[in-house]
Amino acid sequence: MADTKYNFKDFKSDQEIRWCPGCGDIAILMSVQKAMAALDYDKEDYAVISGIGCSSRFPYYMNTYGFHGIHGRAGVLASGVKTANPKLSVWQITGDGDGLAIGGNHFIHEIRRNIDLNIVLFNNQIYGLTKGQYSPTSLFGQVTKSSPYGTIEQPFHPGELVIGARGKFFARSIDNKVADTTEILIQADKHKGASVVEILQNCVIYNNGAHNAITSKETRDDNQIWLKHGEPMIFGKEKNKGLILDGLNLKVVTIGENGISKDDILVHDAHQELPYIHLALINMAVADGFPVAFGIIRSVEAPSYEVLLEEQIKDVQSRSKIKNVDDLLLSGNTWTVD
């Protein structure tokens, strides 16, 4: 495909980065640039599409074709680009407000259609650009500009919504884990169909430390589990904790305790069609005594929309007598006046 190989710097545009110093977006930008450099496309075949929000400024910093859309519409804009030209590698950049508040419908529909997009969801659990109102992923009770007495709304779990929309690919990462994020993004691109990558992102200004329980140095080993397809679900500082199935529920166990050995630990199967374990993994939360799941949680093959469309076009073309507009205009009943 590509006739040149790139360095991640080739993907930097000449525009100055305007995110706040320390904003998680900056690291994600790096991860995306590295992923693109590692992938096999020509640079002109990348398109980076966003809505509106701090995160959605992303395309301006990429030296690719880019489109900074309107609020909530990244999904449909990207769907149009990819459907029009399936050869492109299309990256949708969206925030928890852009993608799940105003853009929630496009989000579930692009997943349902399974259009081959890389959907990168920057989840900082806040509206950054408009200065700190709560978003659909803000925690219940969270005090923000627009919830001075605490929100009274249950947040979405983005991964759960992906499953609800019959999604085939869902992964989760953390802004400053550049190497892991890069690898996940590469896999997301390779997966054909709608791939959703949720990245826990820190907004240093309006929701600083929102993910601390998961990401802080002290607790991260016990509160993160990085899943790999085909490998047992083991985590913890000592690598001695694991997940098993207890009836229909997941349970945290310690290897070596209560007769549990490594072999008892559940092996991650990202490829299974049935979503129940994936959903359970997605819903694990520190508050319930579970580690939070990262990595590629679900990755199931299914035909993607734009491919089916091209196939249908070819099929119809092979059968139709109408080859051009003149044929069309003359099709059906006509008569001649002379």
Binding site: E44, L88, L328, L329, T336
Partner: protein
């Protein structure tokens, strides 16, 4: 433009079915009701030749034709509407209905057995779908279902199916049911259950037509018939084909993002069929998705369009602003219907003009053009695409339910005769691409993903002249605002001048825009024919207005603006050309103008001169 004759002041309906289907009663009922609400009516019953012709055969078809409206003298030559209760009835009559007529068929009777009886080829008959406005209804089964809770025997139930058909036709022509209800109550005074059954079925037929958004079509004759190959075409098909033609001419792939809405859905449906031409139709989750996928496709280098009707255009207005500021080519087709809000979704109106011109935040200029007949929807759709591609701008094309659904014979153009379209692609060999560098028409160049070396970013924030980088500089914002405005204004040099028809030396100028053309031209021709001098200027280009607009308007003592709203185009003319005085004739009834009311208004103004 060839001369159109429009005759919707009169409608000819033919009810046709088996002798036992009660067509005579049905026709009589419709005639009486029409007469009672003030129409002229003329009828022509035609019974089968054989006294007891076998059921389902052509020989057994019983028909009732009627003509209603203003100044009706004859039962009419050719029906505008045919109700065909079985294949035999269709076969016997389809050769006589007008081009583009509305044909209501009872699909339940369109069985293989009945085709055999009628002695006709099922496949062949299906071709009527291309040429006529076919309304399918499972009349027999719906009638049975309607009466399933009554005590009537099966035969009596089936016999009331003519009332279902009558109900549908009442609905389509806005006739009240009261008269027929009273008639049935009297006729079956002693068999209450039969009266009730018939009334129920009558109402159910009426409601069914409401529910399925059944709409009549109208048709136009050409009085000057040029040589050539002809076909029938309605406005929605013509619009779809015009867009496909533009894509082919510009050598671009075509994309339509849309969401169904009456009366625009058929554009989506037509493009979905055209996979054979490689067209991509995307049925989005809503109207916003429709336009946004199209903007995405435009960014990716397609000729992209989106189609909708009033409420859908409202939803698209934010995204249309994005197309304005990114200066991407896009055609937005708005098939107007009765408003406000959901309004009268199956009725025609011209009340989205203001929305088309002004319905966006900020200074957001968009060229607006309007088709005026079913067949010229092809030309104006093509033209909208041409302007969009040559001037790098979204273009709004207005049609309405009347022409979208109406059919007329159309001399088929050849693609080689269609105008060239010069897309504004940056040359592949250019060294540099400056996204917002403008030419003398203020038009920027187009570079699309996949073109090497021209990577760039567009978006909804104000951007710097030439480079297109985001810019908050006050003077730049003003400059760009004016350039976007100027770009649209400059299209004036690329569109034809306004023509005046009728008597150019008249004192009175009749002005219209869009779908009122047929009625206005007919009225004006007839008046001039009868010795009253009237001129007629009809607008297809609305923003910008043709160059000679001021000059034309200043030539007349009185200008009368006819439109199907509360005076939007007249107000727009006042805004753009305030020195003239304008008279208004506004109609907001969900109905087209009639030739008669046009003449009355013009005569009234003439008397005052």
């Amino acid at each position: 433009m060839d001369k159109k004759i429009i005759e919707v002041d009169q409608v000819v309906i033919k009810f046709a079915g088996d002798s036992g289907d009660g067509m005579q009663l049905t026709g009589t009922q419709f005639s009486n009701t029409s007469a009672l609400i003030g129409d002229d009516v003329s009828t022509f019953p035609d019974y089968p030749a054989e006294i007891r012709a076998p059921q389902g055969t052509v020989g057994g078809v019983s028909g009732f034709q009627l003509n209603f409206g203003k100044k009706v003298n004859t039962p009419g030559d050719f029906p505008d509407v045919l109700v065909a209760m079985n294949p035999a009835a269709l076969k016997a009559n389809v050769g006589w209905v007008k081009d583009g007529a509305t044909i209501i068929i009872d699909t339940d009777s369109f069985t293989d057995k009945n085709f055999v009886k009628a002695g006709c080829d099922a496949e062949k008959l299906k071709e009527i779908y291309n040429d006529y406005n076919v309304i399918e209804a499972p009349i027999t089964s719906l009638t049975k279902e309607s009466l399933k809770d009554t005590e009537l025997d099966a035969k009596s139930k089936t016999r009331s199916k003519n009332m279902f058909a009558l109900g549908m036709v009442y609905c389509i022509f806005d006739r009240p049911l009261e008269h027929s209800i009273k008639f049935l109550e009297n006729k079956f005074a002693k068999k209450i259950e039969i009266a009730e059954a018939n009334i129920k079925v009558l109402k159910d037929g009426f409601n069914y037509a409401v529910t399925i958004h059944a709409m009549p079509s109208f048709r136009v004759h050409s009085s000057t018939i040029e040589k050539g190959v002809y076909r029938n075409i309605n406005g929605n098909t013509a619009t779809s084909w015009g867009l496909l033609a533009a894509a082919e001419k510009a050598n671009l792939p075509f994309f339509l993002g849309s969401y169904p809405i009456t009366p625009a859905s058929e554009i989506l449906v037509e493009i979905e069929k055209r996979r054979d031409l490689g067209a991509k139709a995307f049925q989005a989750e809503d109207e916003i998705g429709g336009i946004m996928t199209s903007i995405g496709a435009a960014f990716a280098g397609h000729l992209a369009a989106t189609s909708t009707s009033g409420p859908g255009l409202a939803l698209k207005s934010e995204a249309l602003g994005l197309a304005v500021i990114t200066e991407l080519p896009l055609v937005v087709v708005n098939v107007q219907r009765g408003g406000p809000s959901t309004g009268l979704p199956t009725k025609t109106e011209q009340s989205d003009l203001f929305q088309a011109l002004f319905g966006r935040n900020g200074e957001s200029p968009v060229p607006v053009i309007a088709a005026s007949t079913p067949s010229n929807c092809f030309n104006y759709a093509f033209e909208a695409a041409r302007i969009a591609l040559e001037h790098m701008t979204p273009v709004l094309l207005l049609t309405d339910g009347f022409i979208a659904n109406g059919t007329e014979p159309w001399k088929i153009p050849s693609m080689k005769d269609m105008p060239e379209i010069k897309t504004q692609f940056i040359g592949k060999d250019e060294k540099e691409y400056l996204p917002y560098l403008r030419d003398k028409n203020m038009v920027r160049k187009w570079a699309v993903p996949g073109m090497k070396g021209f990577e760039h970013r567009v978006g909804g924030l104000e951007k710097m002249e030439v480079t297109g980088n985001v810019s908050y500089i006050p003077e730049n914002h003003e400059a760009m605002s004016i350039e976007r405005d100027e770009k649209v204004k400059l299209i004036v040099n690329d569109i034809p001048e306004l023509k005046v028809e009728g008597n150019k030396d008249a004192d009175v100028l009749v002005v219209g825009w869009g779908s009122t053309y047929g009625h206005l031209t007919t009225a004006v021709r007839e008046m001039n024919g009868a010795g009253t001098k009237v001129a007629h200027a009809h607008f297809n280009y609305i923003n910008p207005l043709p160059k000679n607009t001021a000059e034309v308007l200043s030539n007349y003592k009185e200008i009368i603006v006819f439109e199907l709203n509360l005076g939007q185009f007249a107000k727009y003319l006042r805004m753009m050309h305030p020195t003239n005085h304008y008279e208004y004739y506004d109609k907001v009834q969900g109905l087209p103008l009639t030739v008669k009311e046009i003449k009355t208004k013009v005569n009234q103004i003439l008397e005052q001169l």
